[in-house]
């Protein structure tokens, strides 16, 4: 019967519909209120708010990616900023090419910063950057490839724990220095900016902003669904098992390194998408995004939201980013105290983060219940 099936649905998908629902409603609300209502009206949502939320959602997706590897697989990556930034640069390069001859030097072929470094032609790695499809490909392939190379090296030689974290940090640090170099052909410290339009739609029109915002929300929803599916599949259980006792997993015949690389790559790609959505909305990508401090901040979102809980990660990202925006505005001189204090307090008082606030005993009970239901469901499947 219908109600029964709905119940099953909930058992099956847990927090998924809730999160997706919230996202949908927010998007609807924001877009309607931004487009339908005029400046004056009380219901109006300013474009500023739209871009702000858009940014937050990108961060949320990023947090999701971090949580997938840290919360579920126990890989603490201090280098996810690199994947985020690479995705961003892929998008940035595309947008840069879309400027065409509307740059200040009016050169149809080269972006301004190349003209100014008097480069004759595009460097090879910019080839194809004017194609939307290629951009999409690069957004995924860039971070994915880096993650695959780094991951398969590190995990195969069983670099783990703190060592891994420091190495990921070194990775993103090296990339930052590299992208700062003007010879690299990515605009050096100024990065890529002054974008005009995407697929012919002006980036400055409210509609485009709303669409971008909605897309970000969509990607977040999809990302959430994907992660949700992964962690609830048997594979997800293997990954959790790896987190708890890697050697055991090995001795029952799994290859943890493969699983780790796989999950690392998936996570990197998610981060890449987040970066790609981030750039058109904030309007600039520069090497600062690679800075190790950013990557640490991402980890902190997850820690605050609650590692090992997907919606927790999202909450964490939203809360911290919002706090930052508010604090920098209200108490410019003192906001670092507040932020720092927040980090300390949360780690001390809510070790499981906001999502894990409920006492762990209750947690276990819930867990057991959930599994029971799952098993029952399985039983049902078997019978049918």
């Amino acid at each position: 019967m219908i109600p029964q099936s709905i119940q099953d649905l909930f058992k099956k998908f847990g927090s998924l519909p809730v999160v997706v629902g919230c996202l949908f409603i927010t998007t609807l609300y924001v877009s309607v209120c931004n487009l339908a209502f005029s400046e004056g009206s009380a219901l109006h949502v300013s474009t500023y708010t739209v871009t702000l939320f858009g940014k937050y959602l990108c961060y949320a997706l990023l947090a999701l990616a971090v949580d997938l590897v840290w919360g579920y697989c126990g890989i603490l990556s201090l280098g996810h900023g690199a994947f985020f930034a690479l995705g961003g640069y892929a998008m940035g390069m595309y947008l840069m090419r879309q400027i065409g001859d509307r740059g200040v030097y009016g050169n149809p072929e080269l972006p301004d910063f190349m003209v100014f470094l008097n480069w004759e032609s595009l460097p090879w790695y910019w080839a194809g950057s004017d194609s939307f499809i290629w951009m999409i490909f690069m957004v995924l392939a860039g971070p994915g490839l880096l993650a695959y190379i780094f991951g398969s090296m590190a995990f195969r030689s069983r670099v783990s724990g703190v060592y891994l974290s420091i190495m990921t940090q070194a990775m993103t640090y090296a990339l930052m220095l590299a992208f700062f170099r003007n010879e690299m052909g990515f605009g050096g410290n100024n990065g890529l900016t002054d974008f005009k339009d995407i697929l012919g739609f002006s980036l400055q029109s409210d509609t485009t902003r709303i669409v971008l915002f909605a897309l970000t929300a969509l990607f977040l929803a999809l990302g959430f669904a994907l992660c949700h599916f992964i962690v609830n599949s048997k594979m997800g259980r293997v990954v959790t098992a790896i987190r708890d006792s890697e050697s055991r997993v090995r001795f029952i015949g799994y290859k943890p390194e493969h699983y780790k690389v796989w999950i690392f790559v998936v996570s990197a790609m998610l981060a890449g998408i987040a970066g790609a959505m981030y750039v058109p909305q904030v309007g600039i990508i520069n090497p600062g995004e690679f800075s190790p401090l950013n990557s640490i901040e991402m980890v902190i979102w997850v820690a605050i939201g609650g590692r090992g809980s997907l919606y927790g990660a999202i909450i964490g990202a939203l809360v911290v980013s919002y706090a930052k925006t508010r604090f920098t505005a209200i108490m410019p001189e003192a906001w670092l105290y507040a932020l720092g204090g927040l980090f300390v307090l949360v780690t001390l008082l809510l070790p499981k983060g906001i999502a894990g606030f409920v006492p762990s005993v209750l947690d276990k009970f819930k867990q057991a219940k959930k599994d029971k239901s799952i098993a029952e469901k399985r039983a049902a499947e078997v019978k049918s």
Binding site: Y48, G188, N190, I330
Partner: protein, 427 residues
């Protein structure tokens, strides 16, 4: 304790909102967009205070158009995307009438699209690489031709330098400046082998090798000079290394474009006496305005040791000009003020007058000063007359044909005089 802060914070939100409601009508809002935390805080907080000081003074005189000025300070935290976001906040949420802000080129670049989209007004008070002129931005700092070129002339003619070391941090300002200088030097017949160019990362702290290299380069028998576009934080270790490796200003003078009184106040200058800096303003210059300004500043900041510097003068001039333009236009409406700005003159702090030209750049005197033990800079040379800021350098192939002119009929930031069309800009 932190919780208290949070509570305090939220209460502040509340009050500030109320305040906005109350004032919005009869105040003119002035946005202040300078990093108060992060790496740039060291330079930018001073400018924030300067703006606040100017606003206070203006309000003492009864504000503008009979309204009080209300500062809106935000902290973009040396984070470039945040600059864009905060600009949007200032313009669309706080509805400020003008913004004073930015220091680094990248922050300006990040703000630019937003400012242009929302048709705001930005006063940018720092010496920069040029190659830009936006309808919505007024550049009150020096363009390369108001700092670099005269400095090189001085070294060439008065010091007799024949070999050149161009040191810089690897970002756009040094890159551009050095390209311009290289072109300029070659034009003056300096050979490649007599030019050494070196770039270092931000905050570079170990200068041993580079200084040693400079020393070798300088020991080739010809008079050698160093032109430094090294950025803020890296300067202290650089100069300390210079001092320790015994490179005196008489052997190899170093002329710096980003080192002013404030940077010098950060370390012990006795080993550096005689090294040079090129600016449009020095605290040591004697003029009434300057003495008044310095006194006012020390009083405002409540510290007798605090120094003044060139970006502060730029801010001062910018603010005065804006105020004058608003009076002239009789409104704070951006387009009106923008037009009113052009041709406005105010006395600068070095005893001359600053003029806002049609390319949104100022006319400034160029001063070369020598570092003294007390961290001040004594003028040893200055241009006979003020120099007009050139938005597009004539020494760069990419921009030699471009001019900026925001008056009719051209009314364009990058007008190509050969093709006689306004390249690029889609507004």
């Amino acid at each position: 304790m932190k919780l208290k802060k949070l509570i305090a914070a939220s209460s502040i939100i509340a009050t500030s909102m109320v305040a906005q409601m109350a004032y919005a009508a009869e105040t003119i809002k002035v946005g202040v967009l300078h990093s108060l935390s992060g790496t740039m805080a060291i330079s930018e907080t001073t400018l924030k205070d300067t703006v606040l000081m100017m606003i206070e003074e203006q309000n003492k005189k009864g504000g503008l158009l009979g309204k009080k000025l209300e500062p809106v300070v935000v902290d973009p935290a040396s984070n470039w995307p945040l600059f864009a976001e905060k600009t949007r906040e200032l313009l669309s949420k706080e509805k400020v009438d003008v913004i004073f802000g930015c220091w680094t080129s990248v922050s300006r670049k990040s703000v630019l699209p937003v400012i242009e989209e929302l048709n705001g007004l930005l006063f940018y008070p720092v010496q920069y690489e040029g190659e830009e002129s936006s309808k919505n931005v007024f550049y009150t700092g020096a363009a390369p031709n108001q700092q670099a070129i005269p400095a090189v002339d001085y070294l060439m003619n008065d010091i007799g330098a024949e070999r050149w070391v161009l040191l810089g941090t690897d970002y756009v300002y040094p890159r551009t400046t050095n390209k311009i200088l290289e072109a300029y030097l070659k034009a003056k017949g300096v050979q490649d082998k007599d030019i050494m160019i070196n770039y270092t990362p931000f905050g570079h702290s170990d200068w041993q090798s580079i200084v040693a290299e400079v020393k070798k380069f300088g020991s080739a028998g010809k008079k050698t000079a160093v032109v430094s576009t090294v950025n803020g934080d890296a300067n202290v270790p650089f100069y300390k290394e210079l001092g320790n490796q015994g490179i005196s200003a008489e052997d190899i003078p170093v002329v710096a474009f980003s080192v002013g009184e404030e940077e010098l106040s950060g370390f012990d200058t006795s080993p550096l006496v005689g090294h040079l800096a090129a600016w449009n303003y020095f605290q040591s210059v004697e003029s009434e305005e300057n003495e008044k300004f310095i006194a006012q500043w020390k009083k405002f900041i409540g510290d007798d040791k605090r120094v003044t510097n060139d970006p502060m003068e730029a801010t001062y001039i910018g603010f005065k000009m804006w105020a004058k333009a608003v009076e002239k236009a009789g409104t704070t409406e951006v387009d009106a003020v923008e037009q009113a700005m052009i041709g406005i003159t105010v006395p600068n702090l070095t005893g001359g007058t600053a003029v806002m030209n049609a390319n949104h750049h100022l006319s400034k005197p160029v001063l070369i000063g020598e570092i003294q033990e007390n961290g001040q800079l004594e003028v040893v040379w200055e241009t006979p007359d003020t120099v007009i800021g050139d938005a597009w350098s004539d020494f760069l192939p990419s921009s030699k044909n471009l001019i900026a002119d925001w008056t009719k009929p051209v009314n364009c930031g990058n007008f190509d005089i050969t093709s006689a069309k306004c390249s690029g800009q889609n507004f």
